[in-house]
């Protein structure tokens, strides 16, 4: 067996469900199977071609099923195969894809199905996230309550004008209109409507928050030989990394966490990227609250510290800008929490495969998928390209 480096990993199939507030027509098993079947169809493979299944989702309390992979083994064709269940909070969709890619890169398996889902209509995500814990704030009221003070800190630190958040939301909701799988299709969206929406967690307005969605996303990952047989252009993995830091400690920078910076730096090193702003053609970034776009632009090295909001304001991150961010509409338009990270990774793959449809960025050769979770403490990212990696 070769010990000369890792096996190159290719994305040869992508499948998503149409994300909606409540899929009353399918069970959890029906939901995940829909995405998996679409990914297999895209790759023109069958269940028999799959060697292992890696599944991820956010907390089990969201559906009220403990370790649902046990029950889902049959629906995902995993019987008789290895099945792994990843859970790294909001970053889980991304980490799940990375764990699956590791199986191929290590030459443990040749073709792996990876899938992430959330059926949030089975419960109430906000309160599922707000169970009381001794010695912690008695009520955070969901993720917005946790993140709003950090957005405030960003505004104070950078002097960004109040209007930047609404620009992001307006852009992402318009992009979503071009994505048939996106949850929110607000055909009558205007900037004024975003700005007039109710204040939820100051400074975050209703229209600057993500929806609660039911949905699933799946990918088929394979090795070099599998990619050679693929009927459609694959996306090649050029770099992937995870980084974690503690939730609470005195030195933590909640505005621009060190783990995010380190994770991006590792991915760029693997992919040979020295100037991300120039060398990356599209970014699918985990932006659950609109202000996180300018914040992550800085954290990921696309802008100098304090300058992220200027890129947003200048239209650089628009679909027709020179660094499109969330051409799919992003988490602000579609948020089945456990799947949201994988959707970012999968949309990046669709961009470099030239298969993103109406929200395709012309001639995208390198795209980044980004996810984060917990108290802005878990990060997972990958960079995919239209060409196979050279090293």
């Amino acid at each position: 067996m070769s010990t000369s480096g890792k096996e190159p990993v290719a994305v040869v199939g992508v499948g998503q469900t149409k994300h909606v507030a409540a899929r009353h027509d399918v069970s959890i098993a029906g939901l995940v199977r829909e995405a998996a079947v679409r990914a297999l169809a895209d790759a023109e493979l069958t269940w028999a071609d799959i060697d292992a299944v890696v599944i991820g989702k956010a907390p089990d309390f969201f559906e009220g099923v403990m370790m649902p992979e046990l029950y889902l083994a049959d629906a995902l064709g995993a019987v008789g195969k290895p099945m792994l269940r990843v859970h790294t909070a909001g970053s889980v969709g991304g980490s799940t894809a990375l764990v699956a890619s590791g199986l191929v890169a290590a030459r443990v398996h040749r073709t792996v199905l990876t899938l992430a889902f959330e059926k949030q209509s089975e419960s109430n995500a906000m309160w599922g996230l707000s169970l009381p814990v001794p010695f912690q704030q008695p009520l955070l009221a969901g993720a917005g309550g946790f993140f709003a003070p950090h957005v405030r800190a960003y505004m104070r630190r950078t002097g960004a004008p109040d209007t930047v958040g609404s620009l992001v939301a307006y852009k992402d909701r318009r992009n979503a209109l071009k994505n048939p799988y996106a949850h929110l299709h607000e055909h009558d969206i205007t900037l004024e409507k975003v700005q007039a929406s109710p204040m939820l967690w100051d400074p975050i307005r209703y229209s600057e928050t993500c929806p609660s969605s039911d949905g699933a996303c799946a990918m088929v990952l394979t090795d070099r030989a599998g990619a050679a047989r693929a009927p459609k252009a694959p996306a090649w993995l050029h770099g992937g990394a995870m980084r974690s830091e503690p939730t609470l400690f005195a030195g933590k920078d909640f505005v621009s966490p060190q783990a995010g910076k380190d994770c991006a730096a590792d991915v760029y090193r693997q992919a040979g990227i020295t100037d991300p702003r120039r060398e990356i053609d599209a970014v699918e970034m985990y932006v659950p609250f609109s202000w996180y776009e300018p914040m992550w632009l800085e954290n990921l090295g696309f802008a100098e510290e304090g300058e992220g909001w200027k890129l947003t304001e200048a239209g650089v991150t628009e679909l027709d800008g020179d660094l499109p961010v969330n051409p799919s509409g992003g988490v602000l338009s579609t948020n089945p929490i456990g799947a949201s990270g994988m959707i970012r990774f999968a949309e990046a793959a669709l961009q470099v495969r030239g298969r993103a449809g109406e929200h395709q960025v012309p001639n995208a050769r390198r795209a980044m998928g980004h996810a984060y979770g917990g108290g802005a403490q878990f990060f997972s990212m990958w960079l995919v390209g239209a060409e196979p990696p050279t090293s």
């Binding site: 067996m1 010990t3 890792k6 069970s27 089990d60 309390f61 969201f62 559906e63 009220g64 099923v65 403990m66 370790m67 649902p68 046990l70 029950y71 889902l72 083994a73 049959d74 995993a78 019987v79 008789g80 195969k81 290895p82 099945m83 792994l84 269940r85 990843v86 859970h87 790294t88 909070a89 764990v99 590791g102 199986l103 890169a105 290590a106 030459r107 443990v108 599922g128 996230l129 169970l131 814990v133 001794p134 990394a241 995870m242 980084r243 974690s244 830091e245 503690p246 939730t247 400690f249 030195g251 966490p257 060190q258 783990a259 380190d262 994770c263 917990g374 108290g375 403490q377 878990f378």
Partner: protein, 355 residues
């Protein structure tokens, strides 16, 4: 050197630590339960958290009773500066598998794996019913002991065991646990009344709290960190159908397949650490692996002596490795299970360097 090398890199368990497993630990948070174990396993190798290439943990939000419970224990690891880290909502044996894959890619040379679970805050029998098919099975609340009893009944009806033989499994396990200072039940334990017939108290695992940690290392790093590394010469895991009516409960084909893929059948083992929470499940696993009386089964006492949820599988790998470390075993098999009636199974083959 390992006798077989089917993978890109030779990876070994170089250190193992576990807590004392107790019926209740009301005075300890999960972080407080995990931290001494982390410190102990790191001290055994002299490594610091920041020098570890990859960290992976296994636990369950449902036991903790809150979403994202593992974020708190990560604080206990001391993940600063930031670390490369992941988590499986599974027994820690699968966290070890993820870490082993990571080392195989060459992205890490060492890994810290830990797992923990507190069953005492709730009724674990009730909690585990939430693992079942949420539409057809979970609403009936069949608990874990009732499901294991179905399996035991199937075995007895098939003539593969009887109640006396099952009682002997429990008695042997707890007698072995006399030498295990961490075990929850040690020595002579009454067989007791039926919990769910045909299973009596003595056939069932104790309910308790506990944690465990393991350090993995590749090649020369393993030799530097451990006098006699426990090389993982094979590791694989397989899942079966969820529906109990779709399976032959007297057999475990997923264990057999995982063992085959892990190279278990290539040479004899002297030790088996089996994750069999119920006495009847040891019968099923012995058959699946074809274990004879010459193999020492569960010298630690196994899950019948201590069954901290989410850590008990990782402990089997740790106990098997520790026997190799101290020269009591040359080739051992470790097994972990998940889900009702042995639905999902992991098999690892561990070998020590021959003198």
């Amino acid at each position: 050197m390992p006798t077989t090398s089917r993978y890109a890199r030779d990876v070994a368990v170089v250190a193992f630590a576990q807590s004392d497993h107790l019926r209740r630990t009301d005075e300890l948070s999960e972080v407080e339960m995990v931290m001494p174990v982390l410190h102990e396993v790191l001290a055994a190798t002299g490594l610091k958290a920041g020098e570890i290439g990859f960290t992976c943990s296994g636990s369950s939000d449902y036991l903790a009773g809150r979403a994202f419970s593992f974020t708190m224990t990560l604080d206990g690891v001391g993940a600063w500066p930031p670390i490369s880290e992941s988590h499986v909502e599974m027994d820690g044996a699968w966290a070890l598998y993820e870490a082993w894959v990571k080392i195989q890619t060459g992205e890490a040379d060492t890994a810290l794996v830990y797992a923990y679970g507190k069953s005492s805050p709730g009724s674990v029998r009730d909690v585990l019913t939430r693992q079942l098919d949420p539409y057809y099975l979970a609403p009936l609340w069949p608990d874990s002991v009732a499901l294991a009893a179905l399996q035991a009944r199937a075995l007895i009806d098939a003539g593969q065991t009887d109640e006396a033989a099952l009682a002997a499994v429990g008695a042997r396990s707890r007698a072995a646990a006399r030498h295990n200072p961490h075990a929850q039940l040690r020595g002579s334990v009454a067989q007791g009344d039926y919990q769910v017939a045909p299973l009596r108290t003595g056939d069932c695992p104790p309910v308790g709290d506990g944690a465990a940690a393991v350090i993995l290392a590749a090649g020369d790093s393993a030799r530097r960190l451990c006098e006699r590394p426990a090389w993982i010469t094979g590791i694989d895991h397989r899942i079966e159908a969820h529906g109990l009516g779709l399976r032959d409960l007297t057999d475990s084909p997923s264990t057999r397949l995982a063992a085959e893929r892990a190279g278990f059948f290539d040479a004899p083992v002297d030790t088996a650490e089996l994750h069999a929470p119920f006495s009847s499940q040891e019968v099923v696993l012995r058959k699946a692996l074809g274990l004879g009386d010459e193999v020492t089964v569960n010298p630690s006492g196994g899950a019948l002596a201590a069954n901290p949820m989410m850590a008990a599988g990782l402990i089997r790998i740790g106990e098997a490795a520790a026997r190799i470390h101290r020269g009591a075993s040359d080739r051992a098999v470790a097994h972990a299970t998940s889900g009702p009636c042995l639905q999902q199974n992991l098999v690892a083959v561990l070998e020590g360097d021959r003198a």
